[in-house]
C-alpha cells in the first residue's frame, strides 16, 4: 500500500495536449474516483500512473519513489481493464497466478493466494474454466481476482463495470467497495458514471478537457461545486441552470428571470459588470406549491412519475426547470404553480468563465 503523487503531469499526442498539467495527491489506502466526460483524459492519466504511457512533463511518485522511468512491471501496481484483458488461453487459476509465477513465488503460496482471492470473489467453482466459458460478470470477477492476488501497492481500475448490465453493476459497485474496505489498498478508479463516482469514492476527482476541475468528497462536490462543469456533471437529474440578471441592493442582490423576481440573496464577492449570472439549483431543492400562492409563478410543462419521486418540468418566464418531489401531487399540464427556492440553495456562476461566484458567509 502506498500513496500516489501526480505532480504537474502533462501529456501531448503530437501537437494535441490531452493532459494539461495535472496535480493530485492520493493518500495511502484512499479510494479515489476520476470522473469526467468521454475523452477528457482519465484513461490517459491512469495509464501514465501504470507506466503504459510516457508523460510529456511532470512526475509520478508511488510511495516515496519517483517512477517516471520505471517499466510497468517494476511499479508494483495492479490494473483492471475495461475489457478485462483476461489471457484467453489460460484457465481462471492460471490467469490469477500469472503475476505470482512471474515473481517466482513458491507453488504452495500461489495456490493459497489464488484460493483466498477466489473465495473472496466467489470463483471457487470456476478455477479450471477458460475465460470464454465465463459470463461477463464472472470475467469481471476474474479480472478483479488477478489484481488482488498480488497484494500490490495500488489498484488502478479503468471503467471496470461499464460492460455489465445495470443490476450487476450495482452489485459489483458494492463488492468493490467491500473489497476495498477489507484490503484497504490505495485505489484509483476511472469512470464516466457520476453515480459510481458518488457512491464508491472517498474523494472524487472531476476532470474535463485534460484539467482537474475539482477534488473533494462526493457530497462536497455535490453541494459546493467549484464551477458550472462540476455542477452540471455531478448529480442526476442534473442541476438546473437559470440565466438570470442580478440587481445589486446594498450588500444583497435580487435575481430576475425576465421580469419575474426569483429571489433575493447575499451578494457574491464579485459580479459580472452587466449583472448577467447563471443561477444553479438542484432539482430536489425547489419547492412546489400547487397554486399561485407565495413564491415564483411557473407553469407545469411535463410530469414524469418515477415511483420514488416525481420529476416535474416547469417553465419560469420561458426557461425550463426540472424539479423533484416525493409528494404525490395531482398536477396537470399548463397548470399554474408557484415555486420556492431558498437563497442558500442557489449557486451562482459566471456565464463567461463558468466559475462559481462565491457568496461570503
Amino acid at each position: 500500500m502506498a500513496s500516489i503523487a501526480i505532480n504537474g503531469v502533462r501529456k501531448d499526442y503530437g501537437a494535441v495536449p490531452v493532459l494539461k498539467g495535472v496535480d493530485l495527491a492520493i493518500d495511502s489506502g484512499e479510494f479515489v474516483v476520476l470522473v469526467g466526460p468521454s475523452g477528457c483524459g482519465k484513461s490517459t492519466l491512469l495509464r501514465i500512473i501504470a507506466g503504459l504511457e510516457d508523460l510529456s512533463a511532470g512526475e509520478i511518485r508511488i510511495g516515496d519513489m519517483r517512477v517516471n522511468e520505471l517499466a510497468p512491471r517494476d511499479r508494483d501496481i495492479a490494473m483492471v481493464f475495461q475489457s478485462y484483458a483476461l489471457y484467453p488461453h489460460m484457465s481462471v487459476r492460471d490467469n490469477m497466478s500469472y503475476s505470482l509465477k512471474l515473481k517466482r513465488t513458491p507453488a504452495e503460496r500461489i495456490a493459497e493466494a489464488v484460493k483466498r482471492a477466489g473465495d473472496k470473489l466467489g470463483l471457487e467453482a470456476l478455477q479450471d474454466r477458460k475465460p470464454r466459458a465465463l459470463s461477463g460478470g464472472q470475467r469481471q470477477r476474474v479480472a478483479m481476482g488477478r489484481a488482488i492476488v498480488r497484494n500490490p501497492k495500488a489498484f488502478l481500475f479503468d471503467e471496470p463495470l461499464s460492460n455489465l448490465d445495470a443490476r450487476l453493476r450495482e452489485q459489483m459497485r458494492f463488492e468493490i467497495r467491500k473489497l476495498h474496505r477489507d484490503i484497504g489498498a490505495t485505489s484509483v478508479y476511472v469512470t464516466h458514471d457520476q453515480i459510481e463516482a458518488m457512491t464508491m469514492s472517498d474523494r472524487i476527482v472531476a476532470m474535463n478537457g485534460g484539467i482537474i476541475q475539482q477534488v473533494g468528497a462526493p457530497l462536497e462536490l455535490y453541494d459546493n461545486p467549484a464551477n458550472i462543469f462540476v455542477a452540471g456533471f455531478i448529480g442526476s437529474p442534473a442541476m438546473n441552470f437559470i440565466k438570470a440578471r442580478a440587481v445589486r441592493e446594498d450588500n444583497r442582490i435580487a435575481l430576475y428571470v425576465g421580469a419575474t423576481k426569483l429571489l433575493g440573496m447575499p451578494a457574491p464577492d464579485r459580479l459580472p459588470d452587466n449583472g448577467e449570472v447563471i443561477a444553479g439549483v438542484r432539482p430536489e431543492r425547489i419547492g412546489l406549491l400547487p397554486s399561485s400562492e407565495a413564491g415564483v409563478a411557473a407553469t407545469v410543462e411535463l410530469v414524469e412519475p418515477t415511483g420514488v419521486a416525481t420529476v416535474v418540468h416547469a417553465d419560469i418566464a420561458g426557461q425550463q426547470l426540472k424539479l423533484f418531489t416525493t409528494e404525490r401531487l395531482q398536477l396537470d399540464v399548463h397548470q399554474p404553480v408557484s415555486l420556492t427556492i431558498r437563497p442558500a440553495d442557489v449557486c451562482l456562476f459566471d456565464p463567461i468563465s463558468g466559475e462559481r461566484l462565491r457568496v461570503p458567509r
Binding site: 503504459l52 512491471r73 511499479r75 489471457y87 488461453h89 466459458a133 470475467r139
Partner: protein, 280 residues
C-alpha cells in the same frame, strides 16, 4: 421466407452441384498425377486417355526412390523449405509485431519500401543476384537459396503477421506487463500462443512457396548435390523424351510433406483462439 420444400430441394441441389463441379475441376490434375504415376510403362501410352488404367504398378516409385537422386533432392528441399519457413516466420513475427504495436520514425517509408519489393517480378533481379551470390560463394549452396527465399518471403509474411497481431487486443500484453512480465515475455507467453494460427499459416505459406520454387533453384544451383526436387523433376524431361511415369511418381512423393504439414496445422488454421479475451 424459406420457400416450399421443392424450391428448397432445388436450391440445395444447385449449391452442392456447383460445389461438386468446382471440386472435380480443381482435383482433376491431382487425380491425373496419381493415375499416371501408378500406370505401368507398357500401357501408359496405349491407354493414355483412359480414366482408369487396366493394370496398376508401383514400378515408377521404385525407379524414383531406388535409381535416382530423388531422395537427395527431397532432403535438400526439406532443408531449404523448412529453414526458410522457420527463419521467415520468426523474422516476420518480430517485424509484424513492431508494425502492429509501435509508432516509430520512418515506419511509413519502411512499409512502402516493403510493398515496392512485392510489385515487380523476381526475374528482374535474377542477374544481379546471380553475380552477387557467385562472388560470395552462395551459388550451388542451400544457404544461398534459403537466404533468397527468406528475403523474398519476409515482406508478405510481415504483413500477414501484422494483421494477426492487430487482431490481438493491446490490453492483453499491457495486462501481462503490469502483472510483471517484460514486453518480450508478454510476447512469448501471451501474444504468441494467441497468434499461433497466424504463425502456423505464415510458416505454411513460406514453406509451400519455397517448396515449389524453381526459378532460383534452377539458375543458382546447377550441381545435383544442391538441387531441390522441382529441379530434379525437370531431369525426367530430357531433350529426347519425357519420362512421365517417374516424373509423376516423384511429383506425388513431393506432395506428401506438404499434405502432412497441412494436415498437422489445419486445426490451428480454423481455430479462433482469442475467444473470451475481452468483454464478450
Amino acid at each position: 421466407m424459406r420457400g416450399s420444400f421443392q424450391t428448397r430441394t432445388i436450391k440445395w441441389s444447385m449449391h452442392y452441384g456447383v460445389l461438386l463441379v468446382y471440386v472435380a475441376v480443381a482435383l482433376f490434375p491431382l487425380y491425373w498425377l496419381v493415375k499416371v504415376s501408378i500406370t505401368p510403362d507398357d500401357i501408359l501410352y496405349k491407354q493414355g486417355t483412359d480414366l482408369l488404367p487396366s493394370k496398376l504398378s508401383f514400378e515408377h516409385y521404385a525407379t524414383v526412390i531406388g535409381k535416382s537422386d530423388f531422395l537427395l533432392f527431397f532432403r535438400n528441399s526439406i532443408i531449404v523449405s523448412g529453414i526458410t519457413a522457420i527463419a521467415s516466420t520468426i523474422l516476420a513475427m518480430a517485424s509484424g509485431y513492431a508494425f502492429s504495436r509501435f509508432a516509430f520514425k520512418g515506419k511509413f517509408w519502411i512499409v512502402g519500401l516493403m510493398l515496392v519489393t512485392q510489385m515487380f517480378p523476381l526475374v528482374i533481379v535474377i542477374t544481379p543476384i546471380f553475380s552477387i551470390f557467385g562472388t560470395l560463394g552462395l551459388t550451388n549452396s542451400l544457404t544461398g537459396l534459403i537466404i533468397i527465399y527468406t528475403a523474398f518471403n519476409i515482406p508478405f509474411a510481415t504483413f500477414l503477421m501484422q494483421s494477426f497481431f492487430d487482431g490481438i487486443p493491446k490490453d492483453l500484453e499491457e495486462a501481462a506487463m503490469i502483472d510483471g512480465a517484460t514486453r518480450f515475455k508478454a510476447f512469448v507467453q501471451i501474444i504468441a500462443p494467441l497468434t499461433l494460427p497466424g504463425i502456423v499459416a505464415t510458416a505454411g505459406f513460406c514453406f509451400t512457396g519455397a517448396w515449389g520454387e524453381i526459378l532460383f533453384a534452377l539458375l543458382l544451383n546447377s550441381s545435383a548435390s544442391a538441387s531441390t526436387f522441382p529441379v530434379g523433376l525437370l531431369l525426367y524431361s530430357t531433350r529426347a523424351t519425357i519420362e512421365y511415369g517417374p516424373m509423376m511418381a516423384a511429383g506425388v512423393l513431393a506432395l506428401i510433406p506438404v499434405c502432412i504439414f497441412f494436415f498437422l496445422i489445419q486445426r490451428y488454421l480454423v481455430q479462433g483462439l482469442t475467444a473470451g479475451a475481452v468483454k464478450g
